[in-house]
């Protein structure tokens, strides 16, 4: 696997188009990440270092762009001198890039020094010093991982978060569903809604400051709400459904346009389920579909020019595509008789749509390539997986599976080589939406 590390377009004002720097044409871009070295001998610094190292290794491995010298080989060479590393030692275990980190905890503060070097030349690629509160050493590792990723063509995901729905607050005989947010690796669960009703289908606003979601908390009727998660504030019925009388309607499945200006959603205000779009404040509502069937579950293309959705207008649910004004409707999926819940890869580099497909009685995650219409299956096995969502850089997918008997969040790379289940907390954890 040849790894191309390219300059990050955001780094300079006068920069030419991003160019690709091929570090090693023979194909192995092998990192060595020795243990972080405590700058003080106290337990707090040692423990911070230990946690930091583990998370940094996980973060960089997760990105799937690099290879790594097995940590077991580090014992075969002399101990690392962080101020003057012997690069020949590291070369001897096959390292191409050496990540040296030192950390200390001083009171409530933690400081990390990091140096990333080419082993062959001893050249320094990156030098960083981080300071912050000591209570979450994971965040320091996430930040360094994202810094390393700025040397590649992809934006790192280490500081991204996933919103989801969990029934963990249910009591006997009463199902409650609340929204939660976890770090991309399943750590740091935080509860967003606290209303004992049903709160589902979270959708990150592209700025990462708010979630649109569906809540039944008003008159037991599903409406789209907006939670500004850092302000603790929410607004209800943002699509302006009529909430009483014979013409009362409901709204489902909010999806933000990539620029964050508009929300596509499904509503039954016209008698059956159709797709609409509106400004985030509910103004300028436009009806996009018009069929006797149920049209629902919209998702936007990365340019915002097109919207995919589910319709059972042929008798069974299939994915369709239209432009963002509802014109030029054409069918997207043809394989199988039950395809639903689209997620368009947000990276313009990958032209593909993930969705949930019924395969041999169960449900699996599949991806259709828009150019070739070839379908590849991401998941396979006992039980079901559903509700795919893409990482912001388009290189990973999250979804929910019930293989273990309960529904849990899982993450796979887009080629489905590796899959991990997140420990996002108790209960059934479903409907992930991967945020910025």
């Amino acid at each position: 696997m040849a790894i191309a590390l390219a300059s990050n377009a955001a780094q300079g004002q006068t920069q030419a188009p991003p160019s690709t720097l091929v570090f090693d044409p023979t194909g192995v871009q092998r990192f060595a990440i020795p243990d972080c070295i405590p700058k003080r001998p106290d337990d707090a610094s040692r423990e911070a270092c230990r946690a930091f190292t583990q998370v940094l290794r996980n973060d960089l491995k997760f990105e799937g762009l690099f290879q790594f010298v097995p940590e077991s080989l580090f014992a075969a060479i002399p101990a690392l001198n962080p101020d003057s590393p012997n690069f020949e030692d590291w070369k001897s275990v096959g390292a191409k890039i050496l990540v040296i980190t030192r950390a200390e905890v001083v009171g409530a503060e933690m400081h990390v020094d990091a140096r990333v070097s080419f082993v062959d030349t001893g050249q320094t690629m990156l030098t960083k010093r981080f300071s912050g509160k000591a209570d979450n050493p994971r965040m320091f590792a996430h930040q360094l991982s994202d810094e390393v990723m700025t040397l590649t063509a992809y934006k790192g995901v280490a500081r991204t978060r996933i919103a989801f729905t969990s029934d963990r607050t249910s009591s006997k005989g009463r199902i409650a569903k609340e929204l939660f947010i976890v770090d991309y690796d399943g750590y740091n669960p935080r509860q967003v809604t606290v209303n004992n009703s049903i709160n589902i289908l979270p959708a990150w606003r592209p700025d990462g400051q708010a979630l649109a979601y569906v809540s039944y908390r008003t008159d037991r009727s599903p409406l789209i709400f907006l939670a500004e998660i850092f302000l603790g504030r929410s607004a209800g019925n943002i699509t302006g459904e009529r909430t009483s009388g014979e013409k009362a309607s409901q709204a489902f499945a909010p999806a933000w346009s990539p620029d964050g200006r508009r929300v596509a959603f499904a509503s039954n205000r016209a008698g059956n389920m159709e797709i609409f779009s509106a400004n985030a404040d509910g103004s300028d509502v436009r009806r996009l579909t018009n069929s006797a069937a149920s049209d629902t579950a919209p998702c936007w293309s990365p340019t915002g020019a097109e919207i995919a959705f589910t319709s059972n207008r042929t008798g069974v649910p299939q994915l369709w595509v239209m432009d963002n004004e509802g014109l030029n409707v054409r069918r997207l999926t043809t394989l199988g008789n039950y395809n639903d819940g689209c997620a368009w890869n947000p990276s313009k580099q990958y032209s593909e749509v993930a969705y949930t497909s019924r395969i041999e009685g169960g449900f699996e995650i599949a991806v259709v390539d828009l150019a070739s219409r070839n379908v590849r299956q991401i998941t396979e096995g006992r039980g079901s997986c559903e509700y795919p969502t893409w990482a912001p850089n388009g290189r990973h997918l999250a979804f929910s599976c019930n293989r273990s008997g309960t529904w849990q969040l899982s993450v796979a790379d887009r080629e489905a080589r590796q899959m991990t289940t997140l420990s996002a907390g108790p209960g059934n954890n479903v409907q992930p939406d991967w945020g910025p």
Binding site: G12, V22, N196, N268, N272, G341
Partner: protein, 182 residues
């Protein structure tokens, strides 16, 4: 640092063909010094950002607490076949009795809830529940029940009566439920 790194990149790009090993040249400036300790970047703050605040902790819904969409209430649930919003003969018979009951109680408000079993996607089941609720409501209206008494709501597969994964549990969950209020 960034400028120096950029320079390094540009120099390296200029020097590298795709098949040759990289030639890395140190650009002017100290950012790429190999001498340890001679370059110490300004510390960058690490922060998780603002805390995530829960919303609406004061908005627990009292109507939900009193009726968890159970089988209780004066009107028996209407059952559906798998993946179908068609009213069966049994369902029509039941709804005819419900219609008589409703016509003599015009001051009531009745929410017709469409529910589904756990199979299938979240979104499709929300649409299916909506179809079930509307098919039920439309039949009641065709029997002379005042439309103003009836609202519809889909719960999809979000609030099953029976959380089991058996045929029997699925059959109980494929239903229209009637939440009656004054």
């Amino acid at each position: 640092m960034k400028r120096a790194f950029l320079l390094l990149l540009l120099v390296a790009v200029a020097a590298c063909g795709p098949k040759r090993p990289p030639v890395v040249t140190t650009g002017p400036g100290a950012g790429t010094s190999t001498a340890p300790g001679t370059y110490s970047p300004a510390p960058e703050p690490v922060s998780e950002g603002p805390d995530i605040q829960p919303v609406d902790s004061d908005m627990a819904s009292s109507s939900d607490l009193s009726d968890p969409s159970g089988e209780g209430g004066p009107l028996e649930d209407v059952r559906f076949d798998y993946d179908s919003a068609q009213l069966t003969d049994a369902a029509r018979g039941l709804l005819e009795r419900h219609a008589q009951w409703m016509k003599s109680r015009r001051s009531l408000r009745i929410a017709v809830e469409g529910h589904c079993d756990e199979r299938g996607t979240v979104e499709y089941n929300l649409a299916l529940g909506d179809q079930r609720a509307r098919a039920t409501r439309d039949y009641l209206v065709s029997l002379g029940v005042e439309g103003a008494m009836l609202t519809t709501v889909s719960f999809g597969k979000e609030r099953p009566l029976d959380t089991g994964s058996t045929e029997a549990a699925w059959a109980r969950n494929r239903r229209a439920h009637f939440a009656v209020s004054r």
